[in-house]
Structure formats: structure tokens, C-alpha cells
């Protein structure tokens, strides 16, 4: 049954129209919320999501139920916040936009259930400023949900109340980092915060705060409605549920598909995306957005599971595959990526602020024929210096992933530029 195979996208139509409240309800919408509120305690909801094995879809893959369970629930009068990270800006990634534009109620239901699970009284949607259509549709859906008692005071005649505030950003990649996002919501420059304390304990305005990705929350209603066992049965690999996977670049049919977790990369690129365009061959790919390591055609049989992709030497990230063809220069592609990261660095910590522009300068020199072979060592050194543990947040470590793997897999391309100069 289609509906049961593709819970996240069952209401999504090819014409970019959106599911109204009536459409959403007609395919089981808000049944998960009804069950949660009528039959389950907040702790039970956390446990269901934990048992289902849902992991965060924003890139890091942290267990969602576990995250919720770390929020202190002891004093019920205390303020807690739920924040939705809808600041999709990872180059190559276009999954949340579709969920927001075409089935906004799915997110709203997921939010109300999550807020109930952590007993938050207010939730914010931090929406990317450029997503204008998503804003209009969310505004309409929020009104609809409120008018039917799914949102607002005494939701479904229970003791639970929730206000959802739609906040639109003003554009900056770093806002996707959860603590930077909280600073942006507080009206400040979006610089990351030192952790600990973690937002779960001290987040928005110093209160316990859960930050979840859009796609993560869209899974929640279905887990509640159809159950843990059903959810686990959706997957083909180790991780549970379905995932939105995408492919872009010179493939025949770039697009976005909801597929079981654990789907092999080969199937996504060759079947769903139709393989390479005529006249092009596959040289490599970034499996999960701009901040993931390159993989090669020999890795095509890797399953899209967090650990499997890590074992192959990269990260599943957002699940958005960016394809490198044989006629695109990998050195220039890496320059484009590093220019992006250098521009979007918030400038808060020195390695990132100074290191990323340095990689850009070196790459530009190499491409201009002004490089020397030692530059490759300098670049490799920078990938280590900007790696995990040396910076406040994950921006720089992510930024150097495509660079370090390009140096490993496409070294000959770098050397060719340098040799050209010699000649």
C-alpha cells in the first residue's frame, strides 16, 4: 500500500499544490496527535519515538526520542521550548522545502506531538527567509489547525496548550547550527554558543530547548499513528523508517524520493535519478550535501545508513547526493564549495574565519597556474587544523570534508594544474 510505504510524501503531488487540512485529515492526519493526547503520557511518547529508532534528519543523526528524554520535566511550571530548524541551506539539499510547501500540516502535527512530549508551551519554526511560498502555506495551515483545535489553548479539549510562532530568518548558513539558530531567534548575530550547557538544559533565553529538523518531526505523527513495529519495518538496513533522498547534478532525472533507510546509493543514482546524462560518466559524489566527503563509483553499493556511509568514509548528512561528472573539474568544484563555506563562516572563531579563506586563496592560485606542490601539503594541513575539536561548531569540520577527500581521490587533477605551470 502506497500510503504505508511512503508516509512522509503520501500527500505530495507533482503539481506543487499543497495538502489542505481536509486533505491531510483524509489520509490519517492528526490521528497520531489524538492518540498521544488521549492515551499517552509525555514520557510514553518519548519512549515510542525512542523505540521506533528515529534519528535526526538534519545531518547529525542524534536519536530523537533520546534527545527529548534529556529535557528536564520535573517542574511542570518551568518554561520549555521546541524549535524547528527549517533553515535548510546545505547546498544540494531541497527536502524540507518540499515538506513545508506541500504538506505543512504534517510538520504542525509533528510539532504538537513533540511539544507535548517535552511539555513545551511555545514552539518556534525558524524558517529560512528565502522560503516565501513555505511561509504563506505554513501561515494558512497554522490558522486551519488552530480553528480545528489541534493548536492553541486546550488542544483537543485536553490540559495541553501550545502556541506556534513562525519566525523567518534573514539568510545565513550558520543559522542551521542549533545554538547559532537560538542566538538568531533571540535577535542576535548567529554565532554558535559554547557547549555545554547544551540547549536541552539551557537553550532559548536560557530555558530547556529542543531543536529538531523539519523532516525529523514529520516522521513523528506516523510513528504514533501506525506504531513502532510498522515504522521499523519500513527500513531496508540498520537505521529505521524512510528518508528523503535526492540527487542533483548531471543525472538524467534530478529529484527527490522517499525511500527506505538503507537504500543503496546505486539505486538512487541509477534507478531513481535515471543514471548519468548521455555523454557523461560518474566520477564521484557527495552523498549528503556540500559538507560531506566525496565518495567514488566503487562506493555505489553502500547503503544509505548512518554507519554504512561513515564506514565508506563520508556522512549521510542530509541524504542529498551531489553528483560529480567526468567533465566537471573536481578542483574547481571544491573551490566553489570552499568559497561558500568561507563566505558563510560567522567569523566567531579564528581557525574557521581565517582558515577557510586561506583554502580559497590556495585553490584559486592552483587553478590560475600559480600553485606549487607544497600547496597541497598546506591544504592537507588546513583540513586537519580545521577539523573536529578545533572550532566552536561543525561548520569548518564539515567544510574541509570535501576538500580532504578531493585531495585523496582527485590528487592527479590538482597536480595537473601545478604541472601546467611548470611547463
Amino acid at each position: 500500500m502506497e500510503i504505508m510505504d511512503k508516509p512522509l510524501t503520501k500527500n505530495i503531488r507533482p503539481d506543487r499544490a499543497f495538502a489542505t487540512l481536509a486533505d491531510y485529515e483524509s489520509t490519517g492526519g492528526y490521528q497520531g496527535l489524538r492518540k498521544a493526547i488521549a492515551e499517552l503520557q509525555p514520557k510514553d511518547v518519548q519512549q515510542w519515538v525512542k523505540d521506533a529508532g528515529l534519528r535526526g534528519r538534519g545531518g547529525a543523526g542524534f536519536g530523537t526520542g533520546l534527545k527529548w528524554s534529556l529535557v528536564p520535566l520535573d517542574n511542570l511550571s518551568q518554561t520549555r521550548y521546541l524549535v524547528v530548524n527549517a533553515d535548510e541551506m546545505e547546498p544540494g539539499t531541497f527536502k524540507d522545502r518540499m515538506l513545508l510547501e506541500q504538506d505543512p500540516h504534517q510538520l504542525i502535527e509533528g510539532m504538537v506531538i513533540a511539544a507535548y512530549a517535552i511539555q513545551a508551551q511555545r514552539a518556534y519554526i525558524f524558517l529560512r527567509g528565502e522560503y516565501h511560498l513555505a511561509k504563506l502555506r505554513l501561515e494558512q495551515a497554522l490558522l486551519e489547525a488552530k480553528s480545528k483545535g489541534y493548536l492553541g489553548e486546550h488542544i483537543l479539549n485536553s490540559e495541553f496548550s501550545l502556541e506556534i510562532v513562525l519566525h523567518t530568518g534573514a539568510g545565513r548558513y550558520i543559522c542551521g547550527e542549533e545554538t547559532a539558530l537560538l542566538n538568531a531567534l533571540e535577535g542576535k548575530r548567529a554565532t554558535p554558543r559554547a557547549k555545554p550547557p547544551f540547549p536541552l538544559v539551557s537553550g532559548l533565553w536560557g530555558k530547556p530547548t529542543v531543536v529538531n529538523n523539519v523532516e525529523t518531526l514529520c516522521n513523528v505523527p506516523h510513528i504514533l499513528h501506525y506504531g513502532v513495529e510498522w515504522y521499523q519495518g519500513l527500513a531496508r538496513g540498520v537505521d529505521k523508517g524512510t528518508k528523503l533522498f535526492a540527487a542533483s547534478g548531471r543525472v538524467k532525472h534530478p529529484g527527490l524520493w522517499e525511500l527506505p533507510m538503507g537504500t543503496p546509493i546505486r539505486e538512487i543514482i541509477e534507478q531513481h535519478a535515471g543514471g548519468m546524462r548521455d555523454g557523461y560518466t560518474l566520477r564521484g559524489f557527495l552523498p549528503g550535501g556540500a559538507s560531506t566527503d566525496f565518495l567514488l563509483p566503487e562506493h555505489l553499493d553502500t547503503a544509505m545508513d548512518y554507519e554504512a556511509v561513515a564506514k565508506a568514509g563520508s556522512r549521510m548528512g542530509t541524504g542529498a547526493i551531489i553528483v560529480l561528472d567526468d567533465q566537471t573539474c573536481p578542483v574547481k568544484m571544491v573551490l566553489n564549495l570552499e568559497q561558500f563555506f568561507a563566505q558563510e563562516s560567522c567569523g566567531w572563531c579564528t581557525p574557521c574565519r581565517d582558515g577557510l579563506p586561506w583554502t580559497v586563496t590556495l585553490l584559486k592560485d592552483i587553478i590560475a597556474g600559480k600553485g606549487c606542490i607544497e600547496d597541497l601539503d598546506t591544504l592537507a594541513g588546513l583540513t586537519r587544523m580545521l577539523g573536529p575539536g578545533n572550532t566552536f561548531c561543525a561548520l569548518a569540520p564539515g567544510a574541509v570534508e570535501p576538500l580532504q577527500s578531493a585531495l585523496k581521490y582527485f590528487r592527479a587533477d590538482f597536480e595537473r594544474y601545478i604541472a601546467m605551470e611548470r611547463a
Binding site: 530568518g169 534530478p254 556540500a290 563566505q343
Partner: protein
Amino acid sequence: MNGQTEKFEGLSLTEIREINAEMSHYENKTAVSIEALKIVQKHRCWVSDPCLIAVAELLELSPAQLEGVATFYNLIYRQPVGKTVIHYCNSVTCWMLGGEQVGESLCRHLNVELGEMSADGEYTVLPIVCLGACDHAPVAMVGDKLLFDVTEDAVNKIFKR
């Protein structure tokens, strides 16, 4: 030209009303900074120095603090821009599939450099990071509207009224 030489006579009542309405959703006035700048920009296309100072006063912030916020975000304009800003994506997938050429073509049509206002004050062209529509690369955003699979023809169409 647009607003730059006009005399600033304070924020309009509409702007103040819209900014105040936002305050109920947040714990303090600081949190409204970004919304407030966006509101002013919606009415005036960009945020001039006197506007910034007026918003800072309204939110009880120092102008320097608000300036720090205004200059941090890509979509707050501290220089005059045309009535419609055209953003073309220059991130990786669009770059691979001709995004840079779209930018060049836009500038050529308007006879402007990036960031410059067209002579009639109608348009400004700026690059932007991934717009989240990579399956339709190259992508641009004209005002609020996303434009998919941007070709030379599509660029022509933008300016044909």
C-alpha cells in the same frame, strides 16, 4: 533615487505597528531585531542609517548592536537596492549547471555590476547561496518568486513587461 536622498521623517505608524505586533511573540525586544529590520526593508527596499537608528531606539538597543545584526545577515540591505532584487544561486549544483552564466546574463541585460542598481531603479542582481531547488538548477529568485531551470530565454522574460 530611491530613499537615499529623501528626508527621513521617522518610522511610519504602519512600521511601528507591525514591529510592535511582533513583540508579543518573544521574551524581549532584542529578539525582534531581525523582524523589525525586515519590516522596515519591506516598506523602503533597504535600511538606511537613520532607519537603523530609529529601529534601535524603538527596541532600546544601541545602534552599534543593531548594526552588528543588520550586517550579519545576507538578506538585510544596508545599501540602496532596486525595487526587485534578483538573486541567482551560485552554490555547487547551480554552479555546475550554469549558475554563473545566469548571473552574467542578468547583469548584461541590466548593464550593471553585481550589487549595483539598474539605471531605472527597478533591479539589483545579487548572488545567493543554495535556494533549495537543485533538481531544477540553475535557479534564481526574482523578488519573492523562485524561478526554475533558468535559461537565457527565462532571463529575457523577466525583463519583458
